[in-house]
Amino acid sequence: MVRTYALLAWTWMRASAQYPVSLALLTLGSLAVNALDILAIWVIFSHTTTLGGFALPEVMFLYGTAGVSFAVADMLFGNVDRLSTHIRSGGFDIMLIRPAAAFLQMAVDRFNVQRFGRITQAAVVLGLALAGLEVPWSRAWMIPVMIVCGVVIFASIFAIAGATQFLLINAPEVANAFTYGGSSLTQYPLTVYGSELVRAVTFVVPLAFVNWQPALLVLGRDDPLGLPHWLRYASPLAAVALATVAMLAWRAGIRRYRSTGS
């Protein structure tokens, strides 16, 4: 499975290298789009010292962890949300008869190299944040755990977003609200958002477990919203639960799939 994925990814990368000027501009552009988020944080902190009760290194830590998780999930599974395009064109039928899992083919579809840039960029921000924070090892062990859980959570959201397109063939943009919206939401401390929204992303769409809850542990902070203390260890639980939902949703989608016949 991993071998098939790597082979297909390599094929897509070679295909995109056929237009070198475009590839270079795409890579630069992708780096720049993501740099905009950092620039926004920089502009905000040029006017204030804390945002929602959190200082710059802490916000950078939240940005970095969410950024790395999202970028890895987006690189590996992000194109699942192009499913509706393939259903409309009839291309999905071809995937179903190939000797590889349809989900795998969708995930690797148009795999592109410029997404490495995004991971690097988020990792640099995370590194800078950690340099400014001096987290003791007794709490730092959570960092790799939360990044892996974050990747699983975002990947599951991508897969669910893909699965809903079996129903919403003509409205794929709805998924962006949850995928890119989730990435955008987790870049800032959840204290800036209203408490109903925080409850929703803790108990309904578990985005709070990507970085917010474990970050409270790493940063050694009390939950400003007064939610139970054990939640900060619950990321793996949330990741497994959401991945299960995603798997069931994708299977249900495939089962009810009818070709457009084109």
Binding site: L28, G29, L51, N176, G181
Partner: protein
């Protein structure tokens, strides 16, 4: 094969191998419209009126074409609303820490945020080409170059029709939700509403002018995704989408407020909020609209000699 080779004999026989587009509105009517009944323009009409009718019709078709994708437009409105809410909270946190920053109060900042979301559809802030690059790659551009109207004018009319449709479906819903959830600031006088309407129209024209240049870049590098990506970055950041331009520090603020992208978000939003003199705002936007359209016309002329019709 180059464009000229496929060009109808008539153009060359007039000794003007470069074709109609570059010749301005008059020469477009030397009989071409009359010979194409599907345009439904009565030959007896005065040229000015016929031109207006033609472009009005193209705009209407653009509107109709987009109205076939209602679900997609509503999905876009949903996403814009969600992002509006998320970004509003961040701006509220900033303005609570720094009340009165940049002459905005909290309500102004939240209104600004929902306006940026409302502009995404009509102004295509996330790129969204005109489809021309694809047509250049596929060779369909050959047909576009033969149409009885200027390529740029045709696409502009079509884009205005699209913008009107997306304004109705993607600008109004997020604004209503924003007003219900956060209480937005609305202009109090009819004059401000009118100025805002003109300002938005000019913003759409500037957006078209820039996207047209990006699309035509495909004549030179075939795959326009790279230029589209660079254009996306520029338009997101320099328009005021990411953060309001008036809170950018120092020289960055001065520079971004003078660039064409400001005409797409910051200036119309300030007109809406009454934070800018209307004449200054409209002059600034009209200036950039003229510059981008003129540049587009020059590039079209160059592209006609450059374009390679792919396939047949």
């Amino acid at each position: 094969m180059s464009a000229e080779l496929r060009y109808p004999a008539k153009a060359t026989s007039r000794g003007r191998p470069r074709n109609q587009v570059a010749h301005g509105p008059r020469s477009r009517h030397d009989g071409t419209l009359v010979r194409n009944p599907p345009c439904a323009v009565a030959p007896a009409r005065a040229p000015g009126e016929a031109v207006f009718q033609l472009y009005a019709r193209i705009a209407w078709y653009g509107f109709r074409r987009y109205s076939a994708y209602r679900a997609a437009a509503l999905a876009g409105a949903f996403t814009n609303t969600v992002f509006g809410i998320l970004r509003a909270y961040v701006l509220i946190a900033l303005w609570q820490a720094r009340p009165g920053l940049a002459g905005y109060d909290v309500a102004d900042a939240v209104t600004f945020c929902f306006l940026t979301q409302a502009f995404i559809g009509p102004m295509q802030l996330f790129g969204g080409g005109l489809g021309m690059a694809e047509r250049i790659r596929s060779g369909d551009a050959a047909i576009d170059l033969l149409r009885p109207a200027s390529l740029q004018g045709w696409l502009l009319a079509d884009d205005l029709g699209r913008a009107l449709y997306l304004f109705l479906l993607r600008s109004i819903p997020p604004t209503i939700v924003g007003a219900l959830l956060f209480g937005l600031v609305f202009p109090s006088s009819a004059a401000t509403w009118a100025a805002f309407a003109v300002s938005m129209l000019l913003g759409i024209v500037v957006s078209f002018g820039l996207r047209y240049l990006v699309d035509l870049s495909a004549c030179w590098i075939l795959d326009d995704r790279g230029t589209a990506q660079v254009s996306l970055v520029l338009s997101l950041f320099f328009s005021g989408m990411v953060v309001p331009l008036n809170i950018m520090p120092g020289w960055l603020g001065t520079a971004t407020n003078a660039l064409p992208w400001a005409a797409m978000v910051q200036v119309p939003a300030d007109v809406f909020l009454g934070k800018i003199t209307v004449t200054d705002a409209l002059t600034f936007q009209a200036g950039w609209a003229a510059v981008t359209l003129a540049l587009g016309a020059v590039i079209t002329r160059a592209a006609r000699r450059k374009v390679v019709i792919q396939g047949g």
